[in-house]
């Protein structure tokens, strides 16, 4: 870049315009999010002063979070979401990796048939009612496992991992096989160590998918104590139904609750739902977009 001659004026003006547009886009993404954070942190007495484009709280108070933390439904929903996310992602990674290994072995008898099955799963969705009836039949109704198992494997991620396993030099696998290693040993000692970053990437994507899950939970789970956080969020913030969150009446145990705005409480719920994603976000950027970002920076 240093060797480049000074660009003509027109180019510099164009670049300035582009930078302004990109900053505008960044602001359009950030302002609505920061406004929600500001709303949740504002002093209850001054929250009505907060306008829609403000990104800093009016005063400072954690009362919203204290009220949420005292709500048994809210706390349980976080625990449910953490359970679904951790267990679900573990199940996803194990099942996907084992299947990807088996499906990439040329020696797998019936390999073409299984690949056809994968493609059929990918291109045809049966719809929610037939799935609902199966979940009912196999006795997963009302259980968190329904939300975990309905997407035990994402076929697109399976294919990505298969592509990755195919890149592993066959000589490495052959060498281990000649030494008498079984498939399990090759899978554990050769394949998995070589695909740590691919597994980490898939893990992050599966994790975000589970954390953000609300729809299957709304269909399969009826007990509000088993709701994941996103479902509480949907009921409270999107549908404006407070019964899921304050059914227990805990909100009224606070003196300040009388003055507390629902908008601020909703904002706090949104922030808690975003927080884990934000915490994982640097990792996501590092693993998934590393190639693109670094490649883009190198010149």
């Amino acid at each position: 870049m240093g060797t480049r001659i000074r660009s003509p004026l027109g180019d510099r003006l164009l670049r300035l315009a582009i930078v302004l547009v990109l900053l505008g886009i960044s602001a359009a993404v950030l302002v609505p999010l920061l406004n929600i954070v500001a709303l949740s942190l504002s002093d209850t007495k001054r929250v009505s002063e907060l306008r829609g484009l403000d990104v800093l709280p009016k005063g400072f108070s954690l009362i919203v979070y204290k009220i949420l933390a005292a709500n048994p439904y809210f706390i349980r929903s976080i625990l449910n979401s953490v359970f679904i996310t951790l267990t679900g992602t573990t199940v996803n990674l194990i099942v996907t990796a084992m299947a990807a290994y088996a499906l990439t072995r040329p020696s797998l008898p019936g390999r073409r048939f299984f690949m056809l099955l994968v493609i059929v799963v990918m291109v045809f969705e049966p719809g929610i009612v037939p799935e609902y009836l199966v979940v009912k039949k196999i006795g997963l109704m009302g259980s968190l496992w329904s939300v975990i198992f309905y997407k035990a494997v994402n076929v697109y991620y399976l294919i990505i991992l298969m592509r990755f396993f195919e890149e592993v030099p066959p000589s490495l696998v052959e060498a281990a096989r000649v030494d008498g290693a079984g498939h399990w040993t090759v899978f554990r000692r050769v394949m998995l160590p070589l695909s740590k970053s691919a597994m980490a990437t898939l893990g992050l994507f599966y994790g975000v998918m589970h954390w953000n899950e609300y729809f299957r939970a709304s269909v399969y789970i009826t007990d509000p104590l088993k709701y994941p956080l996103q479902l509480i969020l949907r009921q409270f913030v999107v549908l404006d139904d407070t019964s899921a969150l304050i059914g227990a009446g805990t909100i009224y145990s606070y003196d300040e609750a009388a003055r507390l705005s629902y908008a601020a409480l909703k904002a706090g719920t949104i922030v808690v739902a975003i927080l884990p994603v934000l915490m994982l976000y640097p990792l996501i950027l590092r693993y998934y977009t590393r190639g693109v970002m670094e490649g883009g920076v190198k010149e």
């Binding site: 960044s26 099942v95 299947a99 719809g127 494997v153 739902a273 977009t289 883009g296």
Partner: protein, 301 residues
């Protein structure tokens, strides 16, 4: 005999692969193949207990003769057109703009910010957008006030709701969908730009005559593959952003299937709609995938 022995040896050697495959296989069968088989209830009067009676195409006739279904199809096509055709150039323009930024710090910042909404659930996005578009203290109406325009309740406005969906989809995806173009931009040989510099080309000319043509194969692939999902139109988004005032403008196939099936418990009718959607989707995906494969020489399978 020899072949039996060989088969025995092969199973001893590779039989364990079936153990590795078994959990995924069980999942495919339970959550995909069995539900697919279960779609036969579209041709039956479904009963939870006892035997369901075969009724042929009765539910399909009900479906196609109901005026509500025509609206649902129209909404699906309109919203898909907006999100696939109208939205299509935006990530390309975004990638081209990011590509022109010289400061790597600024570029990283813009990219990190723009990719973020992709990882938020539609529940969260709906919550954020409902707040932002709120007629009382929302940011959008603050802007309108600033411009001297009257307050507008976007979420309940029949004229605006589709554009709200379009805008929120853009908000969520413009950054993320640009990644594939940025990856393609990196592969463009720098020598092309160097010789253009020598010829005295300006930035706009380089963009027009070098960068854009190099992106065409990626554009074609992305566009074709997106067409395969034309019948989807974004269930999670519509499900979380619609309300009774605007349902006639945004009710799509998937929200219809949900409402008829799981709210009204008309299992057979809902499954008929799913089957209709599934078959069209299947034809679309197979044909667009074939097209993409012919154009680029590689596909997903």
């Amino acid at each position: 005999m020899a072949s039996t022995a060989a088969l025995g040896a092969r199973i001893r050697r590779d039989g364990f692969l079936y153990v590795l495959l078994a959990p995924a296989l069980a999942y495919f069968i339970l959550f995909h193949i069995l539900p697919m088989a279960g779609m036969r209830i579209a041709f039956e009067d479904f009963r939870l207990f006892g035997k369901s009676a075969f009724v042929g195409l009765k539910h399909f006739r009900t479906l196609f003769s109901s005026p509500g279904f025509a609206t649902v199809i129209a909404n699906t096509l309109i919203l898909s057109t907006m999100k696939i055709v109208l939205f299509f150039p935006l990530p390309i323009v975004f990638a081209l703009m990011v590509n022109e930024v010289r400061s790597s710090v600024l570029r990283k910042f813009v990219q990190s910010v723009a990719y973020l909404p992709h990882f938020l659930s539609w529940v969260v996005i709906a919550g954020v957008w409902i707040a932002f578009l709120s007629p009382t203290a929302g940011g959008a109406n603050e802007l309108r006030r600033f411009l001297g325009l009257p307050v507008l309740d976007y979420m309940t406005s029949k004229e605006h709701i589709r554009w709200v969906l379009f805008a929120s989809e853009t908000w969520r995806s413009i950054g993320w969908d640009s990644i594939i173009y940025l990856a393609a931009l990196i592969r463009i040989s720098p020598s092309l730009y160097e010789s253009a510099d020598m010829d005295g080309a300006n930035a706009l000319q380089k963009m027009r005559f070098i960068t854009l043509p190099e992106l065409v194969p990626t554009m074609v692939t992305v566009f074709i593959l997106n067409l395969g999902f034309f019948m989807n139109a974004g269930f999670d988004q519509v499900f979380n952003m619609m309300n009774d005032s605007v349902i006639s403008r945004v009710d799509i196939l998937d929200t219809f299937v949900y409402r008829v099936g799981l709210v009204n418990m008309q299992y057979s009718l809902s499954t008929a709609a799913s089957l209709f959607k599934g078959v069209i989707g299947l034809v679309l995906i197979l044909s667009t995938h074939g097209m993409a494969k012919r154009v680029t020489g590689k596909g997903l399978w």
